[in-house]
């Protein structure tokens, strides 16, 4: 079991130590004999965007649902704003906005009725922010949820999660179903939330998305938190698949000699390899020859997990 004390050196100030927004200790949830999460210990500090990265079924949603007291932990504990996730759940949820992975509510209601209901439940009378968010996400609030596509329903869910300007946003796969333009808008709204001092806990299986908006990432696999690191470090370690096709034969050793190039394969006039961080040298070396085609692809998240974290934990 991996126990990662991340950020435990909470920023001390003259007024005392800063309470982490989320703090879990050996948080474990099992469903009968099935695995949920196992000994997850992490902290998320105020004002950060924390990415919770893992393949489908890794335990991201279980962690989120345990933080929200929808699931009760089998063992371990979770604190949000320094409050116990079970005993003080109402106070936590009042200060939190949540978007489930697949936003669902009574399909007969329009988006406007959903927002109105949640505004009443939260005691919010000013819906200016909701209107602003709906406009930015181009959310259709006038049609019943039953008539909306998954992406459009997700937009209503985003408005519902954010309209009350919560101190903590917990978003489970928030961009699934959104088109690329809306994904951009979403990332902008998340950055704005951070600028206002809010904290965002964002689960995703999209490395790109996490790289672009998160400060740190926790990586969960098979229910276990295998690593927590700065996004910059993750990006540094990330590699690209590079395929170069030349008009004639090229000496592969020229590319094999470049630092960070591994798993080089040659087939006719085509050379394929993995390049980690040193793309500039690769491009310059390729430019010395007559290049017919170049292909750069990001590895899948699963591939990164297998490369860096293997089957049983971090390498």
């Amino acid at each position: 079991m991996f126990e990662l004390e991340v950020g435990s050196d909470a920023r001390d100030t003259v007024s005392g130590p800063v309470t982490p927004v989320i703090e879990t200790a050996e948080l474990t949830k099992t469903y009968g004999e099935s695995r949920g999460i196992d000994g997850v210990s992490m902290t998320v500090e105020a004002g950060e965007v924390f990415g919770f990265l893992g393949p489908n079924g890794a335990g991201k949603t279980t962690t989120i649902r345990t933080l929200l007291d929808l699931l009760h932990p089998t063992s371990g504990s979770a604190r949000v704003f320094g409050l116990d996730s079970r005993r003080d759940t109402l106070r936590i949820r009042a200060r939190t906005g949540n978007l489930p992975g697949d936003f669902a509510y009574d399909a007969r209601l329009t988006g406007r009725e959903v927002i109105d209901l949640f505004a009443r439940l939260r005691g919010i009378s000013d819906l200016g922010r909701a209107r602003d968010l709906a406009e930015r996400f181009e959310a259709d609030l006038d049609r019943p949820l039953a008539e909306l596509s998954r992406g459009n329903r997700q937009k209503v869910g985003l408005v519902q999660a954010m309209f009350h300007e919560p101190e903590l946003l917990i978003l489970d796969e928030p961009t699934s179903g959104l088109d690329p333009l809306m994904q951009e808008e979403f990332l902008k709204v998340v950055r704005e939330a951070r600028e206002r001092g809010g904290t965002v806990f964002l689960s995703s299986h999209d490395l790109d998305e996490v790289e672009r908006v998160c400060d740190r990432v926790g990586i969960i696999r098979h229910g276990r938190l295998v690593d927590v690191e700065e996004v910059a470090d993750l990006t540094e370690r990330a590699y690209r698949h590079v395929t170069l096709e030349f008009s004639g034969p090229v000496d592969a050793a020229e590319f094999a000699a470049i630092a960070g190039v591994t798993e080089l394969e040659r087939s006719g006039n085509r050379i394929a390899f993995k390049a980690q961080s040193n793309l500039d040298a690769v491009i310059k070396a390729a430019a010395r020859h007559e290049l017919v085609d170049i292909e750069l692809t990001h590895p899948s998240l699963e591939e990164i997990f297998l490369t860096f974290y293997g089957e049983h934990g971090p390498r």
Binding site: R65, L71, R93, A104, L117, L121, R122, E165
Partner: protein
């Protein structure tokens, strides 16, 4: 603890949980709006049947009394058919001994199942319970919605019957009619409470409905058999229909009605505690 954050517009927002009563009121109003057609569909159809029975009473009064006198004694005892010599007894035999109590109890069970078990199955509770809404308030609001909507349906039914009786000159006594409506409402609350209790351990709406309506039917059968079979009579006490009895024909037992309704509330309270202790899937 009061927490405020600076909103984009410069307004300060209060991010403390709303009082339970306010959340309860919001959920009940929403629940009633969601079922705003029920008075027309349930109340209208039951009211139309009831009104028809009351309206035709003056024209069939003599022949019905004669026919009933020829029924076997056991049959009359089983279905609570005494002398059908007045409209209240006739309406009781036709509507209030079986159809109305069963229909209203089933409606109340449906309201509870839809607000909790069906909402959980559809993933709606994930959204609702991520807001500052406690599970106790959720169950209480579902029960209150069932109580309020059942009352509205019964009011439609009662009004239709009363108007039909007044027009046809059937002489339906208002006091007995109100007593019957109160009796049915109390019975429906018991089964609403039972459904709420079932949502404590059970997640599937079909299972919750089966437990509540299965008990409803079983209790009806026990009461029915208890009236005609000496061996079953000793267990009649376990049937809610024993306490519902025939308020339209014989008048309401206020203690029995209060007992049924309060038992429903008690069962719902236990259901809320069980729901709090389990995971929402």
């Amino acid at each position: 603890m009061t927490t405020r954050v600076e909103a984009a517009a410069g307004a300060r927002r209060d991010l403390t949980p709303q009082p339970a009563l306010s959340v309860f009121g919001t959920l009940v109003r929403r629940g009633m709006r969601d079922r705003r057609r029920a008075p027309l569909s349930w109340g209208g159809s039951l009211g139309a049947m009831s009104a028809l029975i009351v309206a035709i009473w003056p024209s069939i009064e003599g022949s019905i009394s004669k026919a009933v006198r020829s029924y076997p004694r056991g049959l009359k005892e089983a279905f609570g058919i005494g002398e059908l010599n007045n409209v209240a007894a006739y309406l009781d035999a036709e509507m209030f001994s079986l159809i109305v109590p069963l229909a209203l109890s089933f409606f109340a069970v449906r309201v509870i199942t839809s607000a909790i078990a069906s909402a959980e199955e559809a993933g709606h509770l994930d959204t609702l319970l991520a807001a500052p809404v406690s599970r106790r308030v959720l169950v209480a609001s579902a029960l209150a919605t069932a109580a309020a909507m059942s009352a509205v349906i019964l009011a439609v039914l009662g009004t239709a019957s009363w108007i039909a009786g007044a027009i046809a000159g059937s002489g339906l006594p208002l006091g007995r009619l109100v007593a019957a409506l109160v009796g049915v409402w109390a019975l429906a609350m018991l089964f609403a409470g039972l459904a709420a209790l079932a949502t404590g351990p059970l997640r599937r709406p079909a299972a919750v409905t089966a437990v509540a309506t299965g008990t409803l039917i079983a209790m009806y059968v026990i009461d029915l058999l208890g009236k005609i079979a000496r061996d079953v009579e000793p267990v009649r006490w376990a049937s809610a229909f024993r306490y519902y009895d025939s308020p339209l024909a014989d008048g309401l037992d206020p203690l029995a009605a209060a007992g049924l309704a309060l038992t429903g509330v008690g069962l719902a309270a236990v259901g809320a505690l069980l729901l709090e202790r389990r995971d929402i899937r």
